[in-house]
């Protein structure tokens, strides 16, 4: 059946790898940037916040098209030969998930008592110690941001299809494989892959939720 097919495991692993890396990059970019955005004042701040919030709802297929047009040989970055590689999918997925992680980080940081920063500094915290302390303090909403970021990309198909090309053994991920099976009329296979995708997403979120809820007062 489907699960004897070695392609399925290859596809699943690639999905997790690509979306996992994209989410991680988004976290590395979004967490510090979101914190900065939430806590400091500078001209253009509200414009930037509006852009990020808009970015949280970018349609993946539009992102895919924009990134594809950049990476095609006819595009400005065509010389990098990234089109139809997993790296291209990662790039597109970072564009999709980074605003999500950033926007939710801003919300998480703004939910903290603003006097907390003053209090921490009044206890002798350095700048980085202050930041790490408030990150730890806001770990619940920050982990939610992480899960939302991951969710936004593990389930998308528009960008993966456009910049990845659904190429067997190279850029085929679970979502694009489901589209393929559906187009072939192999609905049972499509559903099986869909269930597999849901299972993976569930397991990953289960782990993250466990971390999030550890030590929370019931």
């Amino acid at each position: 059946m489907l699960f004897n097919n070695p392609d399925v495991w290859e596809i699943t692993l690639l999905s997790i790898k690509v979306s996992g890396i994209a989410t991680l990059i988004s976290l590395l970019l979004g967490l510090p940037f979101g914190t900065l955005l939430a806590l400091s004042k500078f001209p253009g701040r509200s414009l930037l916040l509006t852009l990020i919030n808009t970015g949280m709802a970018l349609p993946p297929v539009v992102v895919g098209l924009a990134v594809a047009m950049t990476l095609w040989r006819s595009g400005p970055l065509g010389g990098l030969h990234l089109i139809y590689t997993p790296s291209a999918i990662i790039i597109a997925q970072v564009v999709i998930s980074a605003p999500v992680v950033t926007g939710l980080t801003v919300a998480a940081m703004q939910a903290l008592d603003p006097r907390l920063l003053l209090q921490l500094q009044g206890l002798g915290a350095s700048r980085s110690q202050t930041v790490f302390t408030i990150w730890r303090e806001a770990r619940l909403p920050l982990l939610a941001a992480l899960m939302a970021g991951f969710g936004s990309v593990i389930s998308e198909v528009g960008a993966s299809m456009m910049v990845g090309g659904n190429i067997r053994h190279q850029t085929r991920v679970l979502t694009t494989a489901i589209v393929l099976e559906t187009n072939k009329g192999e609905f049972n296979n499509a559903i099986a892959l869909g269930i597999l995708l849901l299972l993976i997403t569930f397991l990953i979120n289960f782990a993250l939720t466990w971390i999030q809820q550890r030590g929370v007062k019931r």
Binding site: L118, G122, L123, G124, T133
Partner: protein, 220 residues
């Protein structure tokens, strides 16, 4: 260990407008100063300045008679301890909350344990050490906030209306305790308050602020 601070011709701005103007103020080493005045008079601004969180537009600051350029550096801030109106405890155990400032200063765990026990017992919260900070009552939380600052043995202790949120009875209880505990710290102390009794019982000096300026500064 305590600090003497002298402020000359200080002007602090917020959003371009002056909110605090101090011609001359001496905060005497090891003494307890009460900071009084109506809301908006500039009490919190002065405390923020002394904590090293804001800098004045102009003016001179002398620490132990040595002029200092800017109070906003980590070394100075680690000589100071701040208690705010709201305990603002972290979502952790009481023990970890008390230890937080010591962790910032990278004090080893063994030393931390000793200090926590020392001040935890003086403030009567040893039985709470394992509890989550979010489960404490208002009075218990403020005790933890005090312990958190006392363990740091600051040279300058700043308290911004520390009992403002508490009911009368708890306030009185704290008053009597502080009367005993503050001398134990031997720190220079500045606390802001509305309560006449607190001024009478605790303070050596009274600094009156009105409209961002000092209207009086006398012995109590």
């Amino acid at each position: 260990m305590s600090i003497r601070i002298e402020l000359r011709n200080i002007i602090v701005h917020r959003a371009g407008l002056p909110v605090l103007e101090i011609v001359h103020l001496i905060i005497k080493a090891g003494r307890i100063h009460a900071l009084v005045g109506p809301n908006g008079a500039g009490k919190s601004t002065l405390l923020m300045l002394l904590t090293g969180l804001i800098a004045p537009e102009k003016g001179e600051i002398l620490i132990n008679d040595q002029p200092v350029k800017d109070l906003r550096d980590l070394i100075y801030r680690r000589r100071v301890g701040l208690v705010m109106q709201d305990p603002l405890l972290l979502n952790r155990s009481v023990y970890e909350n008390i230890a937080v400032g010591l962790h910032f200063r990278r004090i080893p765990a063994s030393e931390i344990a000793g200090q926590v026990e020392n001040w935890g017992s003086r403030l009567g919260i040893m039985h709470l050490l394992a509890r989550k900070a979010s489960t404490l009552s208002g009075g218990e939380a403020q005790r933890v906030a005090l312990a958190r600052v006392f363990v740091l043995q600051p040279e300058l202790l700043l308290l911004d209306e520390p009992f403002g949120e508490l009911d009368r009875k708890t306030r009185l209880g704290f008053l009597h305790e502080l009367k005993i505990l503050l001398p134990m710290t031997s720190a220079t102390t500045v606390f802001s308050t509305h309560d006449e009794r607190e001024i009478e019982e605790l303070a050596d000096y009274k600094i009156e602020l009105g409209n961002g300026k000092i209207s009086a500064s006398n012995n109590v």
